[in-house]
C-alpha cells in the first residue's frame, strides 16, 4: 500500500513540475532546431534529429527531478556510468560520425549536387546523411564516406566558386616563332565562348625546355563548363598550330659520338 504523506505529495508535484518544464523546454528547442535546419536537412533526418533532441531534454529533466521522488541516483549514476562507458566505447565511431555530420550540415562546405574531391575520391555529392555522405564518382560508382572521415579530410569543392582557371603547357620547336604561336593560341582562346573575357587569359613563354620552347596558357572559364572547355580548347590549339606549320616536338636528345684514334672504326660513347 502506498504511503501518502505530505513529503511524498510535495515530491511528486515537484517531479511533475520539473518534467513538465522539461517538456516545454524540449518543445521550444525542437521548434528552433526545426526552423533553423528545415531547409538544410532532408525531412526524414530532421525528424530523427528532433526526436533525439526532444527525448534527450526530457530525459535530462526527468533525471534531475528523480530525487524529488526519493530515488537515490548514486547507484543509478554508478550503474549508468559503467553502462555509459560500455555504450560509449561501442558507439564511439557512430557518435563521432553523428557529430561530424551535424558540423557538416552547419558549416556546409559541400552541398548536394556539388562536384568534390575528398582524398582520392572525386565526383558528385549525391546525398548528405547524418552519419555518412554519398559520392557518385565520375565513372558512376557509389562511394559512402563516413562523415568523421569527410570532416577531417581536405575537401576540394570544384564548383563552389563561379569560375575556375585551367592551364596548359604547349611546347613548340626552337625553330618556330613563339610570338606567332602565342598569337594563334590567343585567337583560339578568344574564339571559345566560355574562355572568359575577364579575367583575361594569359599566354606567355615560360621556359626554354630541353626539347621545346614551353608556352603557358592560362584561361578562366565558368566552373560548370570547366571540363568541357579544358578538353575542347587543347585540341583546337593543337590543330591551329599545326595548320600554321608550327611543330609540337617530341622529347629529343642530341647524342654526339666520336671515333677512338687507336682503334679506327670503333665508336665510343662521348
Amino acid at each position: 500500500m502506498i504511503e501518502i504523506n505530505g513529503d511524498r505529495i510535495e515530491g511528486a508535484i515537484l517531479f511533475a513540475i520539473v518534467v513538465a518544464l522539461g517538456i516545454i523546454v524540449a518543445r521550444v528547442v525542437s521548434m528552433n532546431v526545426r526552423r533553423s535546419l528545415a531547409e538544410k536537412v532532408p525531412a526524414n533526418e530532421l525528424n530523427l534529429i528532433l526526436k533525439v533532441v526532444n527525448f534527450s531534454i526530457i530525459a535530462i529533466f526527468a533525471l534531475i527531478a528523480l530525487p524529488f521522488l526519493g530515488v537515490d541516483l548514486s547507484g543509478l549514476i554508478a550503474a549508468g556510468g559503467f553502462a555509459g562507458l560500455v555504450v560509449g566505447f561501442a558507439s564511439r565511431s557512430v557518435v563521432a560520425n553523428l557529430v561530424s555530420g551535424i558540423f557538416l550540415l552547419v558549416e556546409r562546405p559541400i552541398k548536394i549536387g556539388d562536384q568534390v574531391k575528398v582524398g582520392d575520391v572525386a565526383g558528385f555529392v549525391e546525398d548528405i546523411h547524418i552519419l555518412s555522405t554519398i559520392i557518385r564518382t565520375y565513372d558512376g560508382l557509389f562511394v559512402r564516406i563516413p562523415n568523421e572521415k569527410l570532416f577531417t579530410s581536405n575537401i576540394v569543392n570544384l564548383i563552389v566558386n563561379p569560375v575556375r582557371r585551367l592551364e596548359y603547357i604547349v611546347g613548340i620547336s626552337y625553330k618556330d616563332d613563339a610570338e606567332k604561336a602565342i598569337e594563334i593560341i590567343r585567337g583560339v582562346v578568344e574564339d571559345h565562348p566560355f574562355a572568359l573575357k575577364n579575367p583575361e587569359p594569359t599566354i606567355f613563354v615560360d621556359e626554354l625546355g630541353e626539347s621545346s620552347v614551353n608556352i603557358v596558357v592560362r584561361v578562366w572559364c565558368p566552373s560548370s563548363v570547366w571540363f568541357d572547355v579544358k578538353t575542347e580548347l587543347l585540341w583546337k590549339i593543337k590543330i591551329e598550330l599545326e595548320k600554321a606549320g608550327i611543330e609540337i616536338p617530341f622529347p629529343q636528345r642530341v647524342v654526339w659520338l666520336r671515333r677512338d684514334r687507336n682503334e679506327p672504326g670503333k665508336d665510343v660513347p662521348a
Partner: protein, 212 residues
Amino acid sequence: MFVPIKLKKRDGKIVYERENVKKILPECEIIVNPVEPINLPKNITRFLEIDFSPIVIKPNGVETIYLKFPIEIGVFAKDSDRMIVIDVFAFEKPKFTLYGDPKNGVVCRWFQSDVYYEIPEVDPSKHGVLKLVIKNGKDWAEVGKVVLDCYAMKIYYDKFASCWAEMKILSKISAETTFVDKPIAEGMKKAAELYTTRRLMGKSFIMEWGLI
C-alpha cells in the same frame, strides 16, 4: 532577315527542321521572335554585361544612351494562350565574362557596344537596341558597363529588337539596374519570353563590383 528554318506539313503534323534539329509538332501557331541572349551554347547564367566607352555624368544628372545588345531567336509553338519553346538559335557568336571577383562575382554573357545618343542602325538578325537611362546620385560618376538580369528582360520588336533599362547609380562603384516594360518606339510588339515563370526571382540587379 533570313531565318534558317523549314516547316513542312505531313500527315496533319508540322515538321520543324533547322540544321540538326528536327521536331514533329501538332497543328499549332508557330512564333519566331527575339529572346533573352543567355541560352547559347548553353544556359549557364542569367546576366548580360555590355561594355562601352566610359561616359562621365554630372551630379544628379540623367543621361539617356542607346547601346547594341546581342539577341537570340526563339521559335515557339502556341495553342490558345499556352506556348512551348521549340528551338533557340543565334547568328552572333556568344562570349562570356566574369563581373566581380572569382569568389563572389557572376558569370555574364558579354558584349561590347559603341555609345549612341539616338537609335542606331543594327543588323536585326544579330543585335537589338537597348535604351539605357542612367540616373546619377550626388557625386560625379563614370560608367563604362551595365550588367542586367535577363530573367526580367522585356524585349519589344518591329524591324529590330529593343528593350529599355534604367541604371540608378548608388555610389562610385555600385548601381542598380532594372528593365522597364515599355517599347522604345511606338508600334513595337512584345516578344514571347523564355523566362516569364522565373520573374518572381527579382527584377533588379545590384552592380556592386564597379561601373567601369
